[in-house]
């Protein structure tokens, strides 16, 4: 019995050791890459945070420089979420519970198609098509409803406003959010749905009773996911938004708080010295913000055991 055994034993050992080491090495490589990302960015961004940094007039100090951009990043993403979430829930509901099976499959594919379109194409469409299209509406809003603080200010002549950017971002995160929520809705236990229907509930009442409560953690985590994506989005904002370095809540003007990412995209190629380090530092800040948002999302997912099946 050991005749075939000895030779094979030695060979197998070597193969197993080599391969498992390789796999392990790869895993460690991931950790190394991330450490490298953090390290190199920190190294490059450090000069901006030291006293005596010279920003060639572009900024007074790092904090006052980045504040409007942090505001712009968060503000535009929140607008995007406010628009995208109800739409995503509506679409997901439509596909999971209102449309008939075959039709909903096709629609699912089409919505996923939206997710595949690169952001620069969205940006182009946003600035050349959407902005001019929305402009008359903005003018109307500015003339008739400008007692609402959000609609104050000199209305933009081109439509390149915070609101337009928010809408484009919303359209961009919509497919991912609705795909996730759709999955969760489809996983609602049939038992609960049938119990509601057997009690004589209308379709909407059944959804209220069985589908929405089950899907709530999914909706929340998709919101976090969408938020994470919107926070990091660069090109669509860079093309659509008409930027200024101020904090501005107004939605319809051309003086909009830019986002960190778009600001880097616009200024980095020409920047040098300490100003470039400052931009890198803002990039690190963005990374930190998105990392926290993603971690919260994972936490919410992991808490609900019922949701883990949907993943």
């Amino acid at each position: 019995m050991t005749s075939m055994g000895d030779k094979a034993k030695v060979k197998a050992r070597v193969g197993d050791i080599v391969f498992s080491r390789l796999a392990r090495f790869s895993g460690i490589g991931i950790l190394v890459i991330l450490a490298a990302v953090a390290f190199f960015l920190f190294l490059q961004g450090l000069p901006a945070l030291l006293p005596g940094a010279d920003f060639v007039g572009k900024a007074d100090n790092p904090l006052s420089y980045v504040a409007p951009y942090i505001f712009g990043t968060v503000y535009s993403s929140i607008i995007a979420l406010l628009i995208a979430t109800p739409l995503a829930v509506g679409i997901a509901l439509y596909i999971s519970h209102f449309a008939d099976r075959r039709f909903s499959q096709v629609i699912g594919y089409i919505i996923d198609l939206l997710a595949a379109i690169p952001s620069v194409v969205f940006g182009l469409w946003g600035i050349l098509i959407l902005a001019p299209f929305l402009n008359p509406t903005y003018v109307w809003l500015s003339e008739n409803l400008n007692w609402i603080p959000l609609f104050e200010g000199q209305v933009s002549a081109t439509g390149r406003t915070m609101l337009t950017a928010g809408i484009v971002l919303a359209i961009m995160v919509l497919p991912i959010m609705s795909a996730l929520i759709r999955e969760v809705f489809l996983q609602t236990p049939r038992l609960h749905e049938e119990a509601a229907l057997a009690l004589g509930a209308t379709r909407w009442e059944m959804i209220k009773m069985a589908v929405l409560p089950f899907g709530r953690p999914g909706i929340i985590s998709s919101m976090m996911l969408g938020l994470g994506r919107a926070l990091g989005e660069t090109m669509a904002v860079a093309l659509v938004l008409s930027p200024a370095s101020i904090v501005n809540f107004a939605l319809l003007t051309s003086q909009n708080s830019n986002t960190i990412a778009a600001n880097i995209a616009l200024d980095f190629p020409e920047a040098g010295g300490d100003y470039r380090s400052l931009l890198i530092a803002t990039g690190l800040m963005l990374f930190l913000i998105t990392m926290i948002v993603n971690m919260i999302a994972r936490y919410v997912i992991s808490r609900r055991a019922a949701f883990s099946g949907a993943n």
Binding site: M1, A12, R13
Partner: protein, 259 residues
């Protein structure tokens, strides 16, 4: 090509938990031995120690000796992988490799281990194994089709062919028919009885009638309570176990008073 199997003071652990305790028994060559007992009594755990599959689970180990033709398979120098090349196993649910054809499935034991052989040799081995598993006539015209294209019963016979193609000493069957319909079950049972002409067969079954139909010797296992280790209660000729058992525990089980 068949061996006597001796278990000496075998204890089976999952980490700190003792699952099966103090097994001492001898399994005769060229026979069918059935392991029976209620759920959780450790019979599946025990059969997996016979080809050192038990250790695949992290933290699982065995103390004691397992002798095949006098050689202790649990000696530190011995590689479990080698043991498994000499002891074949058939599982509860048929598991042919879905990316391989029927023929390739049969000779998988050679192919996966990079054993070079020319096409003629391979075809011969495949035919011999498929005949041995009573499957040749049904698949001889479609050997290139994927393994998963067969029915459940045929897939299980394919798995048996795969096991015997490498000419093991012992064949282990872990509840091979519990996922099959009655007709396929019948086919597998007939096959098991035929196989004992050339191999030592050990079969785990929760179906007592099956054990009484096909086995020569039967081992009855039981646990004292939940969380307690499984033990060998009685091991004797099948007729004795089912008509005239010595232990009351055994009699209660085979007459259906529990289980």
């Amino acid at each position: 090509m068949s061996t006597r199997v001796d278990l000496k003071d075998l204890n089976v652990y999952y980490g700190n938990f003792l699952a099966v305790e103090g097994i001492n028994m001898t399994i005769d060559p060229k026979s069918v031995t059935a392991f029976i007992g209620p759920s959780g009594c450790g019979k599946s755990t025990l059969i997996r120690t016979l080809n050192r599959m038990h250790e695949v689970i992290p933290g699982a180990y065995v103390t004691g000796e397992l002798l095949m033709d006098g050689e202790n398979l649990y000696k530190p120098e011995i590689d479990p992988v080698t043991v498994r090349r000499n002891v074949g196993m058939v599982f509860q649910r048929p598991n042919p490799f879905p990316t391989m054809s029927i023929r390739d499935n049969v000779i998988a034991g050679y192919k996966l281990n990079n054993n070079r052989m020319n096409k003629l040799e391979a075809d011969d081995i495949a035919e011999k194994a498929l005949r041995g598993a009573n499957l040749w006539e049904e698949v001889k015209d479609r050997l290139q089709q994927p393994g998963s294209s067969l029915s459940g019963g045929q897939q299980q016979r394919l798995c048996i062919a795969r096991a015997i193609a490498v000419e093991p000493e012992v064949i282990l069957m872990d509840e091979p028919t519990s996922a099959l319909d009655p007709i396929s079950t019948q086919a597998i049972e007939d096959l098991a009885v035929e196989l004992k002409k050339d191999y030592t067969v050990v079969i785990v079954t929760h179906n007592m009638q099956q054990a009484s139909r096909i086995s020569d010797m039967t081992a009855f296992f039981n646990i004292a309570g939940t969380g307690k280790p499984g033990k060998l209660i009685e091991y004797d000729k099948t007729e004795t176990i089912f008509s005239n058992p010595k232990e009351k525990n055994t009699e209660d089980y085979v007459s259906g008073r529990f289980g």
